[in-house]
């Protein structure tokens, strides 16, 4: 039996449908990330589970019990706001032990649980400090410690790392996951940071306009995007418009601007169909020499941008299409200069083919 189950849940705010018939089951001990752009309905979803919002339609079950009418404090779930609300006049210890205290646990238990959790978030030495004396990262860990100390089985985390410096955010990712796993908790974590979701979650739920666009293990969502939106929002890609020119057993040929043909592994396209081919930035390799064979195209380096750990090349092809290639630095790394002639290539089995969207390609991507 899943620990949390949403059946056909909808929530509207005036004319806006924030959640549109959501079905979702979360298992005991699972770490689930809910990913989507601003306005996708992520926070509404989390608040509905927490009991801070009541759905207009559908049922929410926690531990098998229908909880639509159950108040937040009786749901064994604790909701953590993005702006972590610590009591400013209380020190770290009092902030963390506040939950157990109002739960009337005996002093020994409060003492034991609080110090254990503070050690876990590496703040055992700062128990007497006031929130104002701590850095943002430390405050965030206090807030997490307080959530865990509440004894709730379910942590509902709304952009828990959002208020932190980028570098610290990366560092806290793995700590957060380990904390949740060590305590045997179940976490639902809302974020708009796809890298964070991919690194931290057992399962990723991609939300768009109140609907679940795709759900699956991080690797699955990344390597098998089911829509242009998911390909773009999770990982990002080059998108090339074209028409299916030929369908063979081994795959299809898609004709793109300037009469160039791209070979793709088949997915049941039909000749003449208008499609979009998506190729991940890291699947486009750059080399020198002659452009021979399928999906080897010649072009010129238009720009090279170093982004720390990898370089992004924009390559203008002969048909004026610009492809972006992302290459991780490595021992064997070879740099190309702006203006240099290169050959780009990408394997047919790394091309995702989607029907051309009704609202147009740019709108489909820009909807983000």
């Amino acid at each position: 039996m899943p620990l949390i189950r949403l059946a056909n849940v909808s929530k509207r705010f005036g004319e806006i449908t924030a959640l549109d018939h959501i079905d979702l089951s979360i298992e005991d001990g699972e770490y689930v990330c809910v990913l989507g752009p601003t306005g996708a309905g992520k926070t509404t979803l989390l608040r509905t589970i927490a009991g801070l919002l009541e759905p207009d339609e559908g049922e929410i079950y926690i531990e098998g019990r229908l909880v639509n009418k159950v108040p937040p404090e009786e749901r064994s779930a604790v909701y953590m706001f993005q702006q972590f609300a610590l009591f400013p006049h209380m020190n770290v210890w009092d902030n963390v032990s506040f939950g157990p205290f109002i739960k009337n646990w005996d002093n020994d238990k409060v003492e034991r649980v609080t110090s254990e959790i503070l050690d876990m978030v590496r703040l055992g030495g700062r128990r007497d400090a006031l929130p104002s004396e701590l850095s943002g990262g430390m405050q965030q860990r206090v807030a997490l410690a307080r959530g865990i100390a509440s004894g709730a089985r379910i942590l509902l985390l709304d952009e828990p790392l959002g208020a932190l410096d980028a570098r610290l955010r990366v560092e806290l990712r793995s700590q957060l996951r380990r904390l949740v796993k060590d305590q045997g908790l179940t976490a639902v974590h809302v974020t708009h940071d796809q890298e964070e979701a991919l690194m931290i979650a057992d399962r990723v739920v991609v939300l768009r306009n109140g609907r679940i666009e795709q759900i699956g293990a991080p690797h699955e969502v990344y390597s098998k995007p089911q829509s242009i939106f998911v390909a773009s929002f999770v990982g990002g890609a080059n998108f090339i418009e074209g028409n299916v020119a030929k369908v063979e057993d081994s795959g299809s040929l898609v004709e793109v601007r300037g009469g160039l043909q791209i070979r793709v592994s088949g997915r049941g396209e039909t000749v003449g169909e208008r499609v979009v081919v998506a190729v991940r930035l890291e699947d486009v390799s750059v080399g020198s020499g002659e452009a021979v064979g399928s999906n080897n195209l010649s072009g010129r380096i238009e720009s090279a941008t170093f982004i720390g750990g990898s370089i992004e090349y924009a390559i203008r092809l002969e048909n004026d299409i610009i492809l972006t290639s992302k290459i991780m630095l490595s021992d064997a790394f070879k740099a190309y200069k702006t203006g240099e002639r290169v050959v780009v290539s990408f394997p047919p089995d790394r091309c995702y083919v989607f029907p051309y969207p009704k609202i147009g390609l740019l709108k489909e991507i820009e909807a983000i």
Binding site: L134, A166, R167, P218, Y222, E282, M328
Partner: protein
């Protein structure tokens, strides 16, 4: 295209020294970013230059002129904040032309400038829109146009993309840089996002505790950081403690564990020095490689993120290192418990004096 020069600039808040004897020159037309952990003094630095605060000591020159006593509006700067501060009751046009209006410029004088600004941010069609009708990214572009209409040549950007969604942020970076270069401005950009700083700037300044730790071209800071704090702050790195056992013309030999000696190309050490060596996860490769140092260990965790897998590897002495591997279509082929050999070229190993306060304290971000 003004040059900005800071000479011995210090700013204190009570006992806290937010800017501690800063010396810095930003060249004409240069795009410079400042990064550093919270509280490092990067916002104080930009406020000093803007004239929002006054330094306690030192001089600030813009275009060769001492500006310590010059008010913000006379410094020829455009200033953009993280919190998009557009006037909500004014249209895009009203917001952009606000500065010239309060300066008493005539509408005839202002109009062509505003039209130029709108074209520059590709927003000519939305000049009648109110801020609430625009996306966050478009609002911030309007704020940039408003900052630049008074012919400012120095653009100061304080977390200008910080309030935006990650995807939008990535796109606006390039627009911002192009704008600065097209208009031949000088830009100083404060950010907490290393990747943003790397991709947008000619030069990146790393700050810590009110001081400049290091400044350099993005790729140099990343591949050859002079300072151990930089090595950790601008990207992922593995750190191991070691002792220099041998030196030669090519470099030094560092023992990082019993029986594990690594060849490096560093020539600043003497035998017996206690050092910390660092290398980036992406420069380590798995398998056999004639020319490299070899480290063996056991995989204890595999973390996937998109196209990359990070393998956490435990060495014989219990130290942990992380190795990055680009994935093929399937998974890595390595699993927890596998014994692997990691190769690192001598030139990709950075060697630093071992920090007096210990590695953990030296690298701490908070």
């Amino acid at each position: 295209m003004p040059e900005v020069k800071l000479v011995n600039v210090t700013k204190r808040y009570g006992r806290i020294v937010a800017n501690d004897d800063i010396n810095l020159t930003i060249k004409d037309g240069e795009y410079v970013s400042v990064i550093g952990p919270s509280g490092c003094g990067k916002t104080t630095l930009i406020k000093n230059i803007a004239g929002i605060i006054r330094p306690d000591q030192g001089e600030i020159y813009i275009d060769g002129e001492l500006v310590n006593d010059l008010p913000i509006e006379d410094r020829g700067i455009g200033y953009v904040f993280q919190n998009i501060a557009l006037f909500p009751h004014m249209t895009v046009w009203g917001n952009i032309t606000y500065g010239p209006r309060v300066r008493g410029w005539s509408p005839e004088e202002t109009r062509p400038l505003a039209i130029e600004m709108l074209e520059m941010i590709k927003l000519s069609a939305r000049s009648d829109a109110y801020p609430s009708e625009l996306s966050g990214g478009t609002q911030q572009k309007t704020a940039v146009a408003r900052a630049l209409i008074s012919r400012a040549e120095l653009l100061l950007l304080d977390e200008p993309l910080g309030a935006l969604d990650i995807k939008v942020r990535g796109r606006l970076r390039y627009e911002l840089r192009r704008l600065v270069k097209d208009l031949r401005l000088t830009a100083l950009h404060v950010t907490h996002d290393q990747e943003e700083a790397m991709s947008i700037s000619d030069r990146v300044i790393v700050m810590k505790s009110g001081r400049i730790v290091e400044a350099g071209k993005p790729i140099d800071l990343y591949t050859r950081p002079n300072n151990i704090f930089t090595a950790n702050f601008v990207g992922e790195a593995n750190f191991l403690k070691g002792v220099v056992t041998q030196i030669s013309d090519e470099g030094c030999l560092v023992e990082v564990a019993d029986g594990l000696q690594l060849v490096t190309d560093s020539r600043n050490e003497t035998v017996g020095d206690l050092v910390a060596i660092a290398f980036r996860p992406e420069f380590a490769s798995i398998g056999d490689n004639e020319m490299s140092n070899k480290i063996t260990g056991n995989v204890v965790d595999v973390i996937y993120s998109g196209s990359i897998a990070r393998l956490k590897v435990e060495l014989v002495n219990g130290d942990l290192i992380v190795v990055k591997k680009v994935l093929g279509f399937s998974r890595t082929g390595f699993g927890v418990g596998d014994s692997i050999t990691v190769n690192i070229s001598p030139r990709n190993i950075l060697v630093y004096p071992y920090p007096k306060e210990g590695l953990y304290n030296e690298l701490a971000l908070d």
